[in-house]
């Protein structure tokens, strides 16, 4: 079995995640889709790590996880804030960012 399979799988998951980000309105679900994309990236990293026979890829995946965790923490905090002020978690309701 070729490492390419893992990479194809990752690409598929990444694309699904991207579609989710674009389609879903619930901020939390959007966030989950972002997580999916990150995980897809991690999968490639780990697959490549095995392919090359060193652990740098795993280290990268580790860092990605940490960053994702930090991002989730801050992101969810923002969502909570948003919900408090707008009583909604829909990304479409926060549409003041325009000219």
């Amino acid at each position: 079995m070729s490492p390419a399979n893992y990479v194809y799988l990752a690409a598929l998951l990444f694309t699904i995640g991207a579609a989710g980000v674009l389609l879903r309105r619930n901020a939390i679900v959007v966030f989950m889709c972002v997580e999916l994309m990150l995980n897809a990236a991690n999968l490639t990293l780990i697959a490549f790590s095995r392919m090359h026979g060193n652990l740098d890829g795993q280290i990268m995946a580790f860092f990605v996880m940490v960053v994702a965790a930090a991002e989730v923490v801050v992101g969810l905090a923002i969502i909570v804030m948003l919900y408090r002020s707008r009583h909604s978690a829909s990304v479409d309701d926060a549409n003041l960012m325009k000219l």
């Binding site: 991207a18 980000v21 674009l22 309105r25 990304v91 479409d92 926060a94 549409n95 003041l96 960012m97 325009k98 000219l99």
Partner: protein
């Protein structure tokens, strides 16, 4: 001796500077200072004249180089003077008549609070006019040329509080400016043809240049002369210029400045000699103006405007003579000088009449004034006799010569020109007799009131009706005014005979202008006789119309020609319709264009960008998902581009 030439110009220039820059302290003595400096200039001129007489005819020209003015690589203009016989003639005329008119103005302007400034302007005029005739190159002549224009502008508009005076001044300057442009172009042509525009090299080498060039230069010079000398088609300003004080009309718009065109053509004789087409144009202009001015002069009721028409006509004679070439130059200048005397005298007389009549200018409000103003009557009468060419007086000699020379042109042209000149002489006699009769003879029409009647709303009410003055009490003017009139009257009587005596004047000018005898198809005696006949006809017609019958106090409507002549033969109407109205529309549309089209193009571009960004702004709709789409789309495009680059 040469260094005195500078003084000629310098003295009045100093006077102008002092009088115009000096404060009110000079108000009391300013007029004397101005007169003194004018007289000083005359004295210097006389000294130079006698010095000149002491030398041989070919050796009389003097030069004085003052300083290098504009030296730019190949283009050299200097402030340098040249005093030859032609210039000398003018110097004496200008300073002489100028001084007399200064004296006259002391009386005439006595009650004007701005008299100091008036004398300053008069001095400025003298300086500019002397510069004009003394310059040794065309550029310096141009300085004098525009300088007299400025002085004329200032003096016509001297009573600036009158809108009509201000308008007339502006008109005079503008029309002159058109002529000035012609002079400028003539100078450009000289520079490109000869590499110089000093008299000596240009005139000496004129024969070498191509006839086309010379014709072009000649026509441009003629344009300049038309402007300054009020010749058709640039004559329209002269009548309006009578808004100025009467001494100004006498000095500038009769005796000196308006004859500058004749000077220019005579001075550039060498150029015209090489360009027969240009000469023909000069002659035509002179002949047309001669009739034009005379006809206008017949119809005007304003005494000054009638005289202005006469001036135009007389200068037409001079231009006509100058256009005849070496045959006529000397006669043109001779008529110029005699005209300087009698026309200045006539204007001063008119001024004296107005002075006694509360500034009334309408001759229909005059009549029978000979009893009240004997000196004015006599001097005016002598001037009158001189201008109509009464045998023995100055006008007779000078005008007769011109008519003879015109016939001498030869062929059909000669007959036409001679005929026109003869006709002009008859009309001159007619309108001058009319002026004379209406002013000094007949019933005393100034005693009757006159108001504009409903059917003639264009009639200007009499001065007394206008409420400006009370009923006039005609009286003789003070001595300071009559003495210059007497001197000028003597000049009008005697100058012609003196000049004619032994052809002294022609011989005097001959080294500068050359002279050749014309060959008229008929003998001189016949021409003289014809002239006298024309004179008699003119006087008779005028007497029949105005002497035998009482002059109506309100001008009759008159026939078509009269009405047209009253309106300066419709030239102003033409100018107004074509130039003023057209110009106004042009400027208005250009102002509109500048705001809407030129500026609009720029503002439109700005607005287009604004509109575009307004559209693009809508893409920024605030929805995070839309932004996300563009982000992913961008990423997709980038990946596509990378893949494509690799593929290629």
């Amino acid at each position: 001796m040469e260094s005195l030439i500078g003084v000629l110009v310098g003295a009045p220039l100093l006077g102008a500077a002092v009088l115009l820059c000096g404060g009110k302290a000079l108000d009391r003595a300013g007029h004397w200072l101005g007169t003194l400096l004018a007289a000083a200039s005359f004295v210097v001129g006389a000294v130079l004249f006698f010095g000149m007489l002491g030398r041989a005819g070919d050796d009389r020209a003097m030069h004085s180089h003052l300083w290098s003015w504009i030296p730019v690589d190949g283009f050299r203009a200097d402030v340098a003077f040249q005093l030859d016989q032609l210039s000398m003639t003018f110097v004496l005329l200008i300073t002489g008549v100028g001084t007399l008119i200064h004296v006259y103005s002391i009386g005439y302007m006595e009650h004007d609070e701005r008299r100091r400034r008036f004398f300053g302007y008069l001095n400025l005029f003298l300086a500019a006019m002397l510069l004009l005739v003394l310059a040794d190159n065309f550029l310096l002549l141009y300085v004098g040329w525009e300088g007299v224009g400025l002085a004329s502008y200032l003096l016509i508009g001297f009573w600036q509080h009158k809108p009509s005076a201000a308008t007339a001044a502006k008109k005079a300057f503008l029309v002159n400016r058109v002529g000035d442009a012609g002079l400028a172009i003539a100078i450009f042509l000289m520079f490109t043809t000869f590499g110089s525009f000093a008299f000596a090299p240009v005139l000496a080498n004129a024969g070498d240049a191509s006839e086309g060039k010379l014709t072009a230069i000649g026509l441009m010079l003629l344009l300049a002369a038309c402007g300054k000398s009020a010749q058709v088609p640039l004559q329209s300003w002269l009548g309006d210029a009578m808004e100025g004080p009467t001494p100004v009309s006498a000095l500038i718009h009769a005796a000196t400045m308006v004859t500058a065109g004749v000077y220019l053509i005579t001075r550039s004789g060498a150029i015209f000699n090489g360009a027969p087409d240009a000469q023909l144009a000069v002659v035509v202009v002179g002949a047309v103006t001669l009739l034009f001015g005379a006809i206008v002069g017949c119809a005007k009721d304003d005494i000054k405007k009638a005289l202005a028409g006469s001036t135009m006509s007389q200068i037409g004679y001079m231009i006509l003579a100058a256009g005849l070439g070496p045959v006529g130059y000397a006669f043109a200048i001779m008529h110029l000088v005699t005209h300087g005397f009698f026309k200045a005298g006539l204007f001063l007389g008119a001024g004296s009449v107005m002075h006694g009549m509360n500034d009334e200018v309408d001759m229909r409000r005059y009549g029978g004034l000979r009893k009240y103003m004997p000196v004015t009557f006599v001097t005016f009468g002598l001037g009158y006799l001189a201008i109509i060419g009464f045998p023995g007086l100055s006008g007779f000699f000078s005008k007769d010569q011109i008519i003879e020379a015109a016939f001498g042109k030869g062929g059909t042209q000669g007959w036409i020109l001679g005929g026109v000149a003869l006709l002009g002489a008859a009309i001159t006699a007619y309108y001058m007799t009319r002026v004379m009769i209406m002013t000094f003879f007949g019933e005393e029409r100034w005693r009757t009131e006159r108001t504009p009647s409903p059917d003639r709303p264009d009639v200007e009410p009499a001065a007394s009706v206008r409420g400006e003055h009370a009923e006039p009490h005609p009286h003789e003017s003070p001595g300071v005014m009559t003495i210059p009139m007497i001197v000028l009257a003597i000049g009008s009587v005697a100058a012609g005979a003196v000049f004619k005596l032994g052809d002294s004047f022609v011989n005097w000018l001959e080294p500068v202008t050359q002279f050749e005898h014309g060959h008229p198809p008929v003998s001189a005696t016949v021409v003289t006789t014809a002239t006298i006949v024309a004179l008699v006809i003119g006087v008779g017609a005028a007497w029949l119309q105005y002497g035998r019958r009482p002059v109506p106090a309100v001008a009759p409507r008159g026939n078509l020609l009269t009405r047209a002549a009253r309106r300066d033969l419709l030239q102003d109407d033409f100018n107004h319709a074509v130039l003023v109205t057209g110009g106004t529309h042009l400027t208005r549309s250009l102002v509109y264009t500048d705001n809407k089209v030129v500026d609009g193009a720029v503002n439109g571009t700005a607005a287009a960008f604004g509109g575009l960004s307004g559209r693009l702004r809508r893409v920024q709709n605030g929805f995070a998902r839309t932004y996300a789409v563009s982000m992913f789309g961008g990423a997709a495009v980038l990946i596509a581009a990378t893949l494509l680059m690799r593929a290629v």
